[in-house]
């Protein structure tokens, strides 16, 4: 079990904890609630902040529902239990501009976006971060399972000790400057420990289920949200195979993601062997409004382009090196060779083994090949050509 001195050490703030005001970004979930509880226990002057990001009632189309939903209320109840001040930040318009609009446009481009990273990058680690500084805080703590360590005088990010909860994929865009100010005390904990601390403090969120999916997308129905955000810009089109044959119709490319197998709406093909009869979405042609399907081998991708990279290591002389790379939060890292252009924040990554179903809009996060818990940085996948790129569609 964690002891409080480890938390104080992890906080990396000089002198007595009572001399430091620490802002905790509280979502109303168990993780950020326990973060606040541990910091109160450690003796810091804790202030809780919760972001109001969108109109909850409108998002769920519930008439008369409060704009805030129950999570803000949970954060408030936890703060009250802990005896700390708690405030709500109205970031509805910033969130709409910087996260939701980007999310919709990304789908319209045929990509698969990760709004949680955009939110961390913009609203949370920019606006809330500034507010925490304005409130005279020494640091801002969040409930992420990730570790911030000083090695050889340099700040670095490491995966959390609980591999099943590691959130490094969502935090690759944390800049070195932000890293000076943010803290992640839960990086030391397992989820079970977090829940037992919540129980010990009598927090009402101790058994609250983890949040799933994207906060502003009810029941994972992202396409409905995109349709609401961009009415009129989504048109039906054809589902075609690699030979350009029309297999069916669709109601909008936003309903599909690269690598998708289920729910495409066209059956397998007759007269082909079993392995090749299963069809996957292999490309989204937003120009012609076509969804292109094909057998799995068409998804194979050898090399990707990564843009807007954020590096958490010192810029090194080598521009080509071996890395572990994660292409999805839930998948295991794979090995590849990266060529970096530090000046343009660009990188090209060649996989040792071809990868299947890589989608633009997702993040590629790099880990140290010698120490897989060490996060080197990451960026956005802007090109992920698979075999579909070689096909010419004369009829389509």
């Amino acid at each position: 079990m964690i002891n409080i001195n480890q938390i104080i050490k992890e906080m990396d703030l000089e002198g007595d904890p009572s001399k430091h005001r620490v802002v905790v970004a509280m979502s109303g979930g168990v993780d950020s609630s326990v973060t606040a509880a541990l910091l109160v226990e450690a003796g810091y002057e804790v202030v809780g902040l919760t972001m109001q990001l969108y109109d909850y009632g409108k998002a769920l189309q519930k008439k008369g529902a409060c704009c805030a939903g129950s999570d803000i209320n949970d954060a408030r109840l936890v703060s009250s239990k802990l005896g700390i001040p708690h405030y709500v930040l109205n970031y509805e318009s910033i969130f709409q501009d910087q996260v939701m609009n980007d999310f919709a446009d990304s789908y319209l481009r045929g990509e698969t976006p990760i709004p949680c990273v955009r939110c961390n990058q913009t609203v949370k680690f920019t606006d809330m971060f500034d507010r925490a500084k304005n409130l005279g805080a020494s640091a801002m703590a969040t409930g992420h399972y990730i570790r911030r360590k000083t090695k050889k005088g340099h700040l670095s990010l490491y995966t959390g000790v609980d591999p099943s909860k590691d959130q490094s994929y969502f935090l690759f865009a944390t800049t070195k400057n932000q890293l000076e100010f943010v803290r992640f005390p839960l990086g030391l904990l397992t989820k079970d420990e977090t829940r037992s601390i919540a129980k010990r403090h009598g927090l009402n969120v101790a058994n609250k289920p983890d949040s799933q999916d994207i906060c502003f997308v009810p029941e994972g129905k992202y396409a409905e949200v995109v349709r609401k955000l961009r009415p009129g810009s989504i048109e039906p089109g054809n589902i075609i195979d690699v030979n350009g044959n029309v297999l069916g119709k669709h109601n909008g490319v936003i309903d599909f993601t690269i690598g998708q197998r289920k729910g495409i709406g066209v059956g397998g093909r007759k007269g082909v062997d079993d392995n090749n009869s299963i069809l996957y979405v292999i490309a989204l042609d937003t120009q012609k409004n076509n969804v292109i399907v094909g057998p799995k081998n068409f998804l194979s991708c050898n090399k990707i382009k990564i843009s807007d990279c954020n590096w958490l290591i010192d810029l090194i002389n080598e521009t080509e090196f071996r890395v572990l790379v994660k292409l999805r939060n839930s998948s295991q890292p794979v090995i590849g060779t990266i060529e970096v252009n530090f000046d343009k924040n660009l990188a090209y990554l060649t996989f040792d083994k071809p990868q299947f179903g890589v989608s633009t809009g997702q993040a590629a996060v790099f880990y140290n090949i010698k120490e897989s818990s060490h996060i080197l940085g990451g960026g956005w996948i802007t090109e992920a050509p698979n075999k579909s790129a070689d096909i010419q569609f004369y009829n389509a």
Partner: protein, 372 residues
């Protein structure tokens, strides 16, 4: 914990000691359902009648014209449900703006005073189609404290054959309200703004005008608001009204001198501060101000962390701070998210009860403001 300095009396006035003691006595009387026919029922009725009398005396109206509701908001909703066409000012409280669903909106000037010429012009245009029209203008604005020319509003409205409602939630206890001297058809008030508990409001209505109730049931409040009477709320409202009524005339001078002292300090320490409605006739206890570069929610948080309880005047129940529609309506759209309201006790009687706010603390508050 540092002593909290409360300067948010426009949000709510702490329960007065006299009121609290009367409530404890009331709780000891027994089971009080005023609709029961037996001894306790009669006791309950008597308590309600005394409260009604006290409130009637405070605002000089027939006690039988008072309908108790759960809040001033409910009273407004009850009234508005009887009208299709409601003309409102742009600085009304959300209770009026939301429940009226009105798009007949009368602007205000830079000082936050309703534009009477525009009201006149608008009503002339509107009354051509002979519908029953209600004009609703607040007596005192909750954010700025600016007193509205309610006599003139009544005169103009009457000249055009309209009925008039006045939201007096912020006026009660801060200005003299005498319904014998002003021809209002409807007035709404709230108990907790004068030291009664929350959860009690009232609609004062002109009994010549037939209203339909919104809440149906056992016919309480002359059939206008069904539901077992909130005896403790009503008792508290009545006692608070009696307390205010017994206080001497012209009893705002001490509050005003504290407010002005603070305002002068602010002007000296941070001359860039904008005070809204400064040139207008304001109630003695309210200041709404803004610093051009400081968001209101930041100011609120920093002052709260320094133990000062103040308000942005526009927080929703979720706690998020939104743009002030009042500041926007006054033509300061760029400052609408910056405004912060400081509200002192509504009158000297309540100020002296508490005796909590000292000049030393106001000095510290002014310094905090200038260091935001």
């Amino acid at each position: 914990m540092k002593k909290k300095i409360y300067l948010d009396y426009n949000a709510t006035v702490p329960l007065l000691k006299e009121v609290k003691n009367s409530l404890i006595d009331c709780m000891d009387v027994g089971p009080l359902n005023a609709s029961s026919i037996h001894y306790y029922g009669r006791k309950g009725k008597e308590i309600i009648d005394i409260a009604r009398t006290n409130i009637g005396e405070l605002i000089k109206t027939n006690k039988n014209n008072i309908i108790f509701t759960g809040s001033a908001t409910e009273a407004i909703n009850l009234l508005f449900s009887n009208f299709d066409t409601i003309v409102v000012s742009s600085i009304e409280h959300l209770a009026v703006l939301s429940s009226s669903k009105s798009d007949h909106i009368i602007s205000v000037n830079k000082d936050g005073i309703v534009n009477l010429n525009f009201l006149e012009f608008y009503l002339k245009k509107l009354t051509n189609n002979s519908k029953k029209i209600l004009v609703s203008v607040m007596w005192v604005n909750n954010e700025t404290g600016v007193i509205q020319p309610i006599e003139d509003v009544v005169e103009i409205a009457k000249n055009h054959g309209c009925l008039v409602h006045c939201d007096a939630a912020q006026a009660l206890g801060k200005v003299k309200i005498n319904l014998e001297e002003i021809e209002l058809d409807f007035l709404t008030i709230s108990g907790h703004k004068i030291g009664a508990p929350t959860g009690i409001g009232a609609l004062i209505y002109n009994d010549k005008i037939h209203l339909k109730p919104q809440i149906l049931g056992g016919g309480q409040e002359q059939g206008m608001r069904a539901g077992t009477e909130n005896i403790l709320g009503i008792k508290g409202f009545g006692e608070a009204a009696k307390f205010i009524n017994n206080a001497t005339e012209n009893n705002y001078s001490e509050v005003k001198s504290l407010r002005n002292y603070f305002e002068d300090k602010i002007k000296t320490l941070s001359p860039e501060t904008i005070i809204f409605g400064e040139k207008a006739n304001r109630v003695a206890n309210t200041i709404l101000m803004a610093l051009p570069k400081i968001p209101g929610d930041l100011a609120l948080m920093k002052l709260d962390l320094e133990s000062f309880s103040v308000s942005s005047g526009s927080a929703c129940s979720s706690g998020k701070v939104s743009k002030s529609h009042v500041v926007s309506a006054m033509g300061y759209d760029n400052l609408a998210t910056n405004s912060v309201r400081f509200s002192f006790p509504p009158n000297d009687a309540i100020l002296n009860l508490e005796n909590l706010i000292t000049k030393k603390e106001l000095d510290r508050l002014a310094r905090c403001w200038s260091n935001l």
